[in-house]
């Protein structure tokens, strides 16, 4: 028997996206070590949470609980009060859509890669998802547009194109809860900012969880949590965390310094003009 499966009493409620982590702990595969422990977190429907922390701190583990790629070993995760384990998997996974860290495309048409698992999606919806994911220009450059067959594991696309395709794949499902697990890592900063802006304006009550190495991607979030060695080390808004002058503030200072070297003479006023 698969250890993650529907129970007989699994329900399919209409979900809004209020998420709660209650005393959640996850053991690292097969060992006694906890990769996540004592996590309590409340995310109101329609808000955005930014999650930051070092490599291996437990960010991805936290996110993989939401799509039930794994189940917690301790505590529980709920949506609108329902324990995730009591919701039918198909319902859960159409409500919570995750863009995983590693982009996986299949050797089939780009269109099918985007509509993976769905049927009869009108082209307008695909184009809209592609627009928000900033994939429109790339489609125009590909030899057969949406009909282009991507190579094995997406070998014919660049890293950024692959990730933006994966984001379009999530967006075309118009999920209540969108989870981006460092999904913009290969997308350049400027395009990332555009995509995040699009997501904000098109959000309409959508709950977002965003893991990122770049603080710029999370600074506008309603709540930011810093994860360190499997625990929530800091939480608050960007301003709160700066005032706290802890880990987040230190990360922010380093990133500012970096950004200054890189972008101080860019002209923000013309950033919308298409240069291609």
């Amino acid at each position: 028997m698969p250890d993650i499966a529907d129970t007989e009493e699994a329900v399919s409620p209409l979900l809004h996206g209020n998420i709660r982590f209650e005393g959640v702990g996850v053991r690292a595969g097969g060992t006694g070590r906890w990769s996540l422990r004592h996590v309590d977190l409340e995310i109101e429907a329609g808000t955005t949470v930014g999650i930051v922390g070092a490599t291996g701190s437990g960010k991805s583990t936290l996110l993989s609980l939401l799509g039930r790629v794994i189940d917690p070993d301790e505590g529980r995760v709920t949506i609108d009060g329902y324990d995730l384990r009591s919701i039918r998997l198909a319902t859960l996974r159409s409500t919570v859509v995750t863009v995983p860290q590693e982009t996986l495309l299949f050797s089939m048409e780009l269109r099918r890669n985007i509509t993976l698992g769905l049927n009869n999606i009108p082209d307008e919806r695909i184009f809209e998802a592609a627009r928000v994911a900033r994939l429109t220009n790339d489609l125009a450059q590909l030899p057969h547009g949406l009909g282009t067959i991507v190579g094995e594991r997406g070998a014919t696309l660049s890293g950024g194109q692959k990730q933006r395709t994966a984001i379009a794949r999530a967006l075309v499902r118009d999920p209540r809860v969108l989870v981006l697990d460092d999904s913009l890592a290969s997308v350049d900063t400027h395009t990332t900012a555009e995509i995040l802006e699009e997501l904000r304006s098109a959000r309409a009550g959508r709950t977002c969880l965003i893991v990122s190495q770049r603080l710029a991607s999370v600074r506008d979030a309603d709540q930011i949590i810093v994860i360190d060695e499997g625990r929530i080390a800091e939480r608050g808004t960007h301003q709160n965390l700066l005032a706290l002058d802890g880990r987040y503030a230190a990360m922010y200072r380093r990133e500012l310094q970096q950004a200054e070297e890189d972008t101080h003479d860019a002209d923000p006023n013309s950033a919308t003009e298409d240069i291609r």
Binding site: R93, T98, L116, N137, S186, H190, A266
Partner: protein, 595 residues
């Protein structure tokens, strides 16, 4: 060999036979000693097969007919000795044959793998991993089955058949004629089925390879399949592959079943003829009772080889298909071949020149058109441009991941096609956008199979790349074991490591770098920028740049657009031109351009 190794609709029967002979000769030759011993033993076994019925005839017509009880004993002892000898020979030839065969197959697997590693990037773009794995494992196993069981059966049974026919004609030619009269019919039946079985066996291999390619991809992507509810569609698609595979197998089995049944019928007809004719003969006096008994045994024995050969036929046909696939793979030239007489560049100055270079991955979809570019030794060049402008292809050509269709690329005045790939890899250091980490220590990941690189050189490269600091903080330092994919260090640290690797493998050559667009932790980012600024000053470098600081640190900027160089100059000049670069720059170009 211009044939595409991927086309699995296989060639005609003759090329498959030739392929098998070629493979046999090439792979068995180094192991001829055990093979020769096995062959001699095989022949002896086959000849011994003729003895028992002959002894039987002698007993019936001699001592038994004469009522001489004591005369039976020596014949019975001889019968027993013959049986014992056959057992001993069988054991010995199986042993020697396996010894030769398994060694040869191990060689073959190694050769295949080494051959695959020589292939260019475009090869791996075309060949699904699952297909390659099938060739390396299942196809070789099939040939193994042929070597270890089928070929033995065929040889033993073949020789036995010939020996029996000779003995039969020597003993009684009339009865012998009756026994072999069905053999020509059998030959025709075999010819008829041969073509069908071979075609369906090739179909079966192809279907299997496609199925494994599909499985490989979907098992790898299982998380996405599950999260996005793709299970039903994937199952349906797998059904199609599975159905095709099943049909191919059924067609193969149907043909072999018909073939075997036909043979059984023919064997029965042959036996009936001997019984009827021999009975007449005994009554008419031109055959003895002992001869008839012996001939019934001979006929059974003669058909046993034929039947066994028929059973093995299937395996042989499948092996022939596999042999051809393996041979095609081994004969397919890498599209980036080693020069026949490679030149060596003892020291690299680093002057690079592209002359009228044109390149496309797919015919009629040019990626680079007539690109000419001269880079003096020591100059650093930043390549910028939008997605699809041809930046990655340009850099890939410099590293000879591909060869251009037109024009040439010179390094210190020498066409890079004339350099041995080994020499070229030392002369041109490549840092890819998504660096790869292999499981192993940090030091191993820096020197990467180049044992001639000393620990001191590894350390120096790490220092130059600004990687030394983080490495020394890891438990064990350079001995720290990386998890597959480098999962236990950060993305930024992986990039520092890749830079160190390039510097270690090519301490003075041309640096070709595809700057990562990935966001990495700020600390690593600063280290990379600092190292890069330093390296760009000291050696010829071609960098696909995504960051303004990298572009500013370069001596020269070239702007690519739709496969051509549209602007060329330093930062100030290009800004003054107020063209493409100036516009890019205004739009925070560092951020804009992905690969």
């Amino acid at each position: 060999m211009s044939r595409d190794p991927q086309t699995s609709t296989d060639g005609d029967v003759r090329t498959q036979d030739a392929a098998l002979i070629w493979l046999m000769v090439h792979t068995m030759r180094p192991h001829w000693r055990p093979l020769l011993v096995a062959l001699i033993l095989l022949l002896a076994t086959a000849l011994l097969n003729v003895v028992p019925p002959y002894l039987m005839q002698q007993a019936i017509d001699g001592p038994i007919a004469a009522g001489d009880v004591s005369g039976v004993l020596p014949l019975a002892i001889l019968y027993g000795v013959a049986a014992l000898l056959m057992f001993a020979f069988q054991y010995a030839y199986t042993y020697y044959l396996q010894k030769a065969g398994q060694r040869a197959l191990a060689d073959l697997r190694t050769r295949m793998f080494e051959h695959i590693m020589k292939q260019s990037q475009s090869f791996f773009g075309k060949m699904p991993t699952g297909d390659l794995v099938t060739r390396l494992t299942s196809d070789i196993d099939t040939i193994n089955a042929l070597l270890s069981s089928s070929s033995v059966t065929i040889l033993v049974e073949g020789v036995t058949l010939i020996a029996i026919v000779i003995v039969m004609f020597a003993v009684n030619w009339q009865l012998a004629l009756l026994a072999v009269i069905v053999l020509p019919v059998l030959a025709m039946v075999t010819r008829f089925f041969r073509v069908r079985i071979r075609a369906s066996s090739t179909g079966e291999r192809t279907a299997l390879a496609r199925t494994s390619a599909f499985l490989n991809e979907h098992l790898h992507g299982m998380t996405v399949v599950q999260l996005f509810g793709h299970q039903a569609a994937a199952a349906k698609e797998f059904d199609t592959f599975n159905w095709n595979y099943r049909q191919a197998l059924l067609s193969l089995r149907r043909h072999s079943a018909y073939f075997l049944a036909t043979q059984e019928v023919l064997a029965a007809v042959g036996l009936a003829l001997v019984l009827y004719g021999g009975g007449q003969g005994v009554l008419a006096g031109w055959a003895t009772l002992g001869t008839l008994v012996a001939f019934i045994q001979y006929t059974e024995r003669a058909f046993q080889p034929v039947l066994r050969l028929g059973e093995q036929y299937n395996a042989v046909q499948i092996a022939l298909g596999a042999a051809e696939r393996v041979q095609r793979m081994l004969l397919s030239e890498p599209s980036v071949p080693e020069p026949a007489q490679p030149l060596e560049l003892p020291r690299v100055r680093g002057a690079v020149e592209l002359r009228h270079v044109a390149f496309s991955y797919v015919a009629d979809e040019p990626v680079l058109r007539d690109v000419s570019l001269t880079i003096p030794a020591g100059q650093s060049v930043a390549v910028v441009g939008a997605t699809g402008a041809g930046k990655s292809s340009l850099v890939g050509l410099l590293a000879r991941f591909y060869d251009p269709q037109q024009g040439k690329i010179l390094l210190d005045g020498v066409n890079i096609r004339q350099l041995s790939l080994n020499n070229l890899r030392r002369a041109v250091a490549v840092v890819p956008q998504d660096p790869v980490c292999l499981p192993g220590s940090i030091a191993f990941n820096i020197r990467l199979y180049r044992d001639d690189i000393s620990d001191a050189e590894v350390k120096r490269a790490a220092e130059q790349a600004n990687a030394a600091h983080f490495i020394e903080q890891l438990p064990g330092g350079y001995a720290y074991e990386l998890a597959p994919g480098g999962a236990n260090i950060s993305v930024g640290q992986r990039q520092l490591l890749a830079l160190a690797r390039a510097l270690a493998l090519s301490p003075e050559g041309v640096l070709v770098l595809d700057e990562a667009t990935s966001s990495i932790d700020t600390e690593a980012e600063a280290l990379i920028q600092e190292a890069l600024a330093r390296i760009l000053r000291t050696r010829t470098s071609v960098v696909i740049a995504h960051r303004l600081s990298t572009i500013r640190n370069a001596d020269r900027i070239i702007v690519m657009h739709r496969g051509q160089i549209v602007e060329d100059g330093d930062h100030e000049t290009l800004l003054l031109r107020n063209g493409y670069y100036a516009r890019l720059h205004r739009h925070q170009l560092a951020a804009r351009s992905e690969t």
